[in-house]
């Protein structure tokens, strides 16, 4: 019968230990690194008696009520046993003793020390000492000859010596061991032992075998070895009967040999494979207690005890007799007994002892299949009933071996297949739940509340708690039906259980928001159909079953549609009218899952948005959470912590929005997602230290993680802004969805989002400008809205970075969009603002003509008529009156005050349109007068007001501008840009001449302004005053400052003069215009060239930060 290995238990703190039995064998005595000697009644003794003997105890020996210990204060002490009272010091060394042993009758103690000495001391009289000198290194172990003639010792010098006690000489010395410099470095502590009784044999553990030397001849009688020993042996001890030798190895193997038969009879492996450093045989019965180098104590029972029933009753008696024989020193033995014994020993190992499986057999034989199962966490195998069927055990053991040692053994039994292996399908789960096998678990944690389930001996209950107590109060339910899945919404609690025996699977709904008195309902599933996943939406509930059916119910319990699922369900999630179904599309390979997704809308018009598309997952990951953001966008999380969100703006593709693993501190930490909010952007999750899901207690707290799209180079400013921009777009897709589906939503949120996005685009544009990436600027401009494009153009022109290219392109873009009526209105607005504001400095060219004209027209009071007679507006009247009359007035005012307001309009459109008057000079091509009226009289209308309400502001805003060099420069540039654009604008306009028809108000563009005229007259003055002025620009500047000094009346006079001139020019207007255009172009080119020469300093001054501030400022003005 095999020995029974009892589980190891904690004995001492980690470190070297020693063990022995007391004389009667009633208790085990151990000593250890903690300096305590513990007396154990048996292995299960929970309260062993402790005797503190010193700081560290290296070795102990017990005989005749005396406990001798070798302790760290270099002494060998005696304590009384079992009282534990100190009984003096036997001897001292210069360093600590490593091993102490008693002789057979307990009168002498031998101690071997680290100072190379061995002392033999009389216990009763410590004056009687004998010292054995000769070792050249610390002494490892000692063994007293039972006949008190010799002492054997092993030392770090590699020698095993036998000493004659009487004359303290060395009888023999064998160089058996490896040399080392100290005990701690010794490969083996080499606990040797004499055969009890006659002392005929000395057993010495040498590497992987036990060498037996015959007394007197000192010849190597034989070796005991075994194939299972893979590491060197540390300890050897004889059974009290002298028939067996037990040895413990440094890797925790304990082997017992029958010395007569030279056969191995037991092999026991330490459960953790620690070094066995103490081994003691019970004085009477077959027990071995052992300790390891980690301070644990273990016990083997029934070691070589031939008392098992299998062998019948005859054997024990013979063995007993033989035992007695042996004890008497008579080693003839009973051959029959030995045979029997051997037979018993070997019958425990009926199979070959040499191969690998032998080890496994041993494990079974040593009687711990159950324990091993536990270790392997393999709970499907229960070996209880199979105790004696070794064949069956063998098979199972082989399986375990497979599990334990990795693939090779298992693979050798399966057909070889190196290709991809199918992944087991993940089981259905409820989002926000923890595993069902836990006794305390979360059934749901979502944005509404928490459902917890307690399933222990006392109680099987469900606790429902709402985050917002105003939804409903917390509820406690008895879980008599053993519900396993649950969901929670603002309306109801939904629970479901699987079928049990004759009870069908049930769906149970607690509809607490119902206004009638019955607040719950329950539905039984048909036989053989189990509910696997459930979810709640607004006004409906859904359950997916094992029959691949998706059953829909109203929240009140009416059965609705039943759908077939394309595969076994993985999870369901509901939100509003949307139902999100994830199922297995097929079998995944190599750790991947193969999942499909359906997104259904169950509202009035039912439709399927996602029709079974594959659900992208991280490699080798499975799905851990599905759900909707609070705004209703489907999201899911996989086991690698990647959160993905449906990108409705990208035809319902999935975009990863967060990698929760990035935020984890430890490798085994995870975040357990409980909710996603798009506005504000929050990923709500529970940090779990060292696990995938949180425990119910202590109650976990929610943390909020930011989202981050996996864009490249997010460390750089560019990458960062790109990430922010696309994230902002993605996280506002839900607004479009809501709008499309007729939900209410906050308009301001959208505006804010748009503003944020445009701001980001502007910043990116500014960055690209700085890097002189003009093409990129144009690309960015493509992403912008109309307003932002205008700003961008303004920005570009101010920063002078983009030599018109980007601007022109953007203008084209803008022009193509400028087809709608309303946009034309905008253009009109712009013109007025433009004339009122920003470009005024460029007085000689282009726009300012308009102003003059406007003032003139204002007197015609065409505008008043327009406003009072809305009839002419055939279409777009509302929009017109809104945009033109309502927005014009403030726009003009603000235009007069701040040039920033220019950002609202599109300069390009205006530039294009500023040509309008030109074709308008031609005889009207349009037949529709009303049409033209609706448009053209508008022009004067607003300016009229502006001019009427405050005349001077028209000019006033000029005053501050040229003071700032930068501003004036910018405005020059603006003008230049505008000029350059004119031709394209004309082209763009030409194909649609129908717009511009009315001859009367569409006055020809005046070639000259008051300032120009004044300047012409005064040019000579300026030149004479400043002879160094060679530059036209300088002259103009000087002229402007002088002009401004003039009184308002004078200026007006000049203006009127100019107008008069213009009117007088009436007929030639068109030609002049062309001429003017040409000359202006030429001039502007000249100007540009000059500026390019003159202005790099200014350009530099406009560094990026300033530009960014500027653009931001412009936005704020909006």
């Amino acid at each position: 019968m095999p020995a029974t290995q009892k589980p190891m238990r904690y004995g001492h703190t980690e470190g070297h230990t020693d063990v022995c039995f007391d004389d009667s064998g009633s208790c085990i005595v151990t000593c250890g690194r903690d300096g305590d000697v513990r007396i154990w009644k048996d292995l299960d003794d929970d309260d062993p008696k402790s005797i503190n003997v010193g700081e560290k105890a290296y070795s102990c020996a017990l005989r005749n009520g005396r406990l001798v210990t070798a302790v760290s204060n270099n002494t060998v002490q005696v304590h009384t046993f079992p009282e534990g009272a100190p009984d003096g010091i036997l001897t001292r060394f210069t360093t600590n003793a490593n091993h102490v042993v008693f002789n057979r009758d307990g009168t002498k103690v031998a101690a071997g020390s680290g100072d190379f000495l061995i002392k033999i001391v009389d216990v009763t009289d410590s004056g009687q000492q004998k010292t054995l000198r000769g070792h050249d290194a610390p002494v490892l172990s000692l063994a007293f000859d039972p006949k008190d003639v010799f002492v054997a010792s092993a030392s770090c010098d590699g020698c095993v010596r036998v000493w004659q006690i009487s004359d303290q000489t060395c009888a023999v010395s064998w160089p058996l061991l490896q040399k080392c410099n100290d005990v701690i470095n010794a490969k083996s502590i080499c606990r040797l032992a004499w055969q009890p009784g006659s002392g005929k044999l000395l057993a010495v553990p040498v590497e992987k075998s036990v060498k037996l030397y015959r007394r007197e001849t000192w010849s190597n009688q034989f070796d005991l070895s075994d194939g299972s020993i893979s590491q060197s042996l540390n300890v050897v001890t004889w059974s009290p009967c002298g028939r067996y030798v037990a040895a413990g190895s440094t890797n925790g193997l304990i082997v017992v040999w029958d010395v007569e038969a030279k056969a191995c009879v037991e092999r026991v492996k330490h459960e953790k494979g620690y070094t066995v450093c103490g081994l003691a045989w019970h004085p009477t019965c077959g027990r071995i207690s052992y300790t390891d180098a980690q301070g644990n104590l273990g016990l083997l029972e029934n070691v070589c005890e031939p008392s098992e029933k299998v062998s019948g009753s005859k054997v024990p008696s013979s063995v007993e007799k033989e035992y007695d024989d042996l004890f008497d020193g008579d080693d003839k033995g009973d051959a029959g007994g030995f045979l029997d014994d051997n037979a018993v020993g070997i019958s425990s190992f009926p199979r070959g002892i040499t191969n690998d499986e032998d080890d496994d057999d041993l494990m079974v034989a040593s009687g711990h299949p159950r324990q091993r199962n536990h270790i392997l966490e393999d709970d499907e195998n229960s070996v209880d009933g199979a105790g004696l069927k070794s064949g069956l055990l063998r098979e199972e053991e082989e399986d375990h071996t497979g599990n334990l040692r990795g693939l090779p053994p298992a693979a050798s039994q399966r057909p070889l297949w190196d290709g991809p292996r199918p992944t087991p399908r993940q089981r259905p789960f409820q989002p926000g739940s923890t595993p069902a096998y836990l006794t305390h678990r979360f059934m749901v944690w979502n944005s509404v509340g928490i459902i917890r389930c307690y399933n222990d001996e006392q109680d099987n209950a469900i606790d429902v708690e709402f985050h917002d107590t105003s939804v409903h109060h917390a509820t406690h339910l008895a879980n008599s039906l053993n519900y396993t899945v649950a969901d929670l919404s603002h309306e109801a609690i939904l629970l479901a259980c699987e079928s049990m025996d004759d009870l069908a699977s049930k769906l149970h709904c607690l509809h607490f928001s119902s206004w009638d008195s019955s607040k719950e309902w329950m539905v039984d599933m048909p036989p053989n159909e189990d509910i696997e996943a459930i979810c709640l939406g607004q006004g409906w509930a859904a359950a997916a079953t094992s029959a691949l059916l998706l059953r829909l119910f109203t929240i009140g319990g009416v059965q609705k549609e039943v759908l077939s699922l394309p595969g076994p369900v993985v999870s369901l999630a509901g939100h509003g009218e949307q139902l999100f179904v994830v199922y297995h599309r097929g079998t995944g390979f190599d750790g991947d899952q193969c999942l499909g997704v359906q997104l259904l809308e169950l509202g009035k018009k039912k439709r399927q948005i996602l029709r079974g598309e594959p659900l992208p997952l991280t490699r080798r990951a499975h799905l851990t959470w599905v759900g909707f953001s609070a705004e209703g966008t489907p999201c899911y999380v996989d086991s690698e912590g990647c959160v993905r969100m449906l990108n409705r703006g990208l035809d319902n593709a999935w975009t990863p929005v967060c990698d929760t693993r990035e935020h984890c501190k430890g490798k085994s930490d995870h975040y357990w997602v409980v909710g996603i909010h798009e506005h504000p952007q929050q990923l709500r999750c529970i940090p779990c230290k060292g696990s995938r899901f949180p425990p119910t207690l202590p109650r976990p707290a929610v943390a909020v993680l930011p989202f981050k799209l996996p864009y490249c180079q997010t460390a750089s400013e560019k990458g960062q802004m790109e990430e922010q921009f696309w994230r902002s777009l993605l996280f506002h897709n839900h607004l479009d969805y809501l709008a499309e589906n007729g939900y209410e939503y906050d308009e301001s949120t959208k505006n804010q989002a748009v503003k944020e996005q445009q701001e980001l685009l502007m910043k990116m544009l500014a960055l690209s400008c700085k890097l002189e990436r003009e093409f990129r600027c144009v690309e960015l401009a493509d992403l912008m809205t109309q307003n932002a494009v205008n700003l961008a153009i303004k920005y570009a022109s101010r920063s002078r970075k983009l030599i018109l290219l980007a601007v022109e392109k953007a203008a084209e873009l803008a022009a193509t969009e400028a087809e709608e009526e309303e946009e034309e209105e905008e253009e009109e607005d712009f013109r007025q603002k433009l004339s009122a504001g920003h470009s005024r400095t460029a007085t000689e060219w282009g726009q300012p003509r308009l102003r003059n004209q406007v003032e003139e027209d204002a007197e015609d009071s065409g505008a008043d008529e327009m406003e009072e007679n809305p009839e002419p507006h055939r279409h777009g009247q509302n929009s017109f009156s809104k945009s033109a009359s309502a927005s014009d007035v403030p726009a003009v005012k603000s235009g007069a005050v701040t040039p920033g307001s220019q950002g609202r309009v599109n300069p390009f459109k205006v530039l294009a349109n500023s040509k309008e008057p030109a074709p308008a000079m031609n005889p009207p091509r349009s037949t529709n007068i009303l049409d033209s009226m609706s448009r053209l009289p508008r022009k004067p209308s607003a300016p009229h007001r502006a001019a009427g309400s405050e005349k001077s502001p028209v000019i006033k805003p000029l005053l501050p501008r040229p003071k700032s060099k930068q501003a004036s420069a910018a405005s020059y540039f603006q003008k230049r840009a505008a000029q350059a654009d004119q031709p394209s604008g004309v082209k763009a306009e030409d194909p649609t001449p129908t717009h511009t028809t009315s001859p009367a108000p569409a006055a020809p563009t005046s070639p000259k302004t008051g300032f120009q005229m004044w300047l012409e007259e005064n040019r000579s003055n300026i030149l004479s005053d400043n002879p160094d002025f060679s530059d036209e620009a300088d002259i103009i500047k000087e002229g402007m400052s002088r002009f401004r000094v003039l009184s308002a009346e004078e200026r007006k006079e000049w203006t009127n003069k100019a107008k008069a001139g213009a009117v007088g020019d009436g007929g030639k207007a068109k030609k002049r215009k062309h001429g003017a255009d040409g000359s202006h172009d030429a001039e502007s080119q000249e100007e540009a060239a000059k500026e390019n020469l003159n202005l790099p300093k200014k350009q530099k001054s406009l560094d990026l930060s300033a530009n960014q501030k500027l653009s931001a400022f412009a936005f704020k003005q909006e």
């Binding site: 985050h467 107590t469 929050q682 709500r684 202590p698 707290a701 929610v702 909020v704």
Partner: protein, 185 residues
């Protein structure tokens, strides 16, 4: 400054609560609070936390240091070292008292926390007394004490200064006669 005033100051300390109601940001003179999302932790001043807790409107999350193991370490360190060790919060005593009296159900092992903080306090007060004693005995002119909290100063400070004043009077001997005369007047 008395304990009530110190407590008042301590009530401005931020603590984390998990509200069970929903409320937009509230704008107060001392700063904006919220928004309050049910189930989502939010930092609020202690006074608001206590008030909400009393109305069962929130669950309190104990401060990170209010943990038995951490407090044990702190107490041991406090006992080992001669000088005052840094405390987890400048208002640890007040926070503990208020939180434990109003939200003991939200603090794991509240009793142990109470004992530990009391131990910490007692140790510190003992140190304070000892140092005040040696200060007086050695007739030092000044002493430096680091890591003292407001409450600790207010507990010992007033008494110590009053005592020093009296001692000064006693030590400076009999009053000059003029003063006595003036008193007579």
């Amino acid at each position: 400054m008395d304990a009530a005033e110190v407590e008042f100051l301590a009530e401005k300390e931020l603590v984390t609560i998990i509200p069970n109601f929903s409320l937009d940001k509230i704008y107060l003179i001392g700063g904006d609070l919220g928004p309050f999302d049910p189930g989502l932790p939010v930092d609020v001043p202690l006074w608001l936390a206590v008030s909400l807790k009393q109305r069962q409107k929130c669950r309190l999350l104990p401060p990170a240091w209010m943990d038995v193991e951490k407090l044990e370490k702190m107490r041991d360190r406090e006992r080992q070292e001669e000088t005052f060790t840094p405390v987890p919060s400048p208002y640890y005593m007040e926070l503990t008292k208020l939180l434990l009296s109003h939200a003991a159900d939200n603090i794991p092992r509240a009793d142990a926390v109470r004992t530990l903080v009391k131990d910490l306090w007692d140790t510190r007060m003992a140190k304070l007394r000892v140092s005040a004693d040696s200060f007086v005995r050695q007739q030092e002119a000044h002493a430096k004490l680091d890591n003292l909290t407001l409450l600790e100063i207010s507990t010992g400070g007033a008494f110590l200064t009053a005592a020093l004043r009296h001692m000064h009077k006693l030590r400076s001997g009999p009053r000059p006669p003029e003063t006595a005369a003036s008193q007579d007047l």
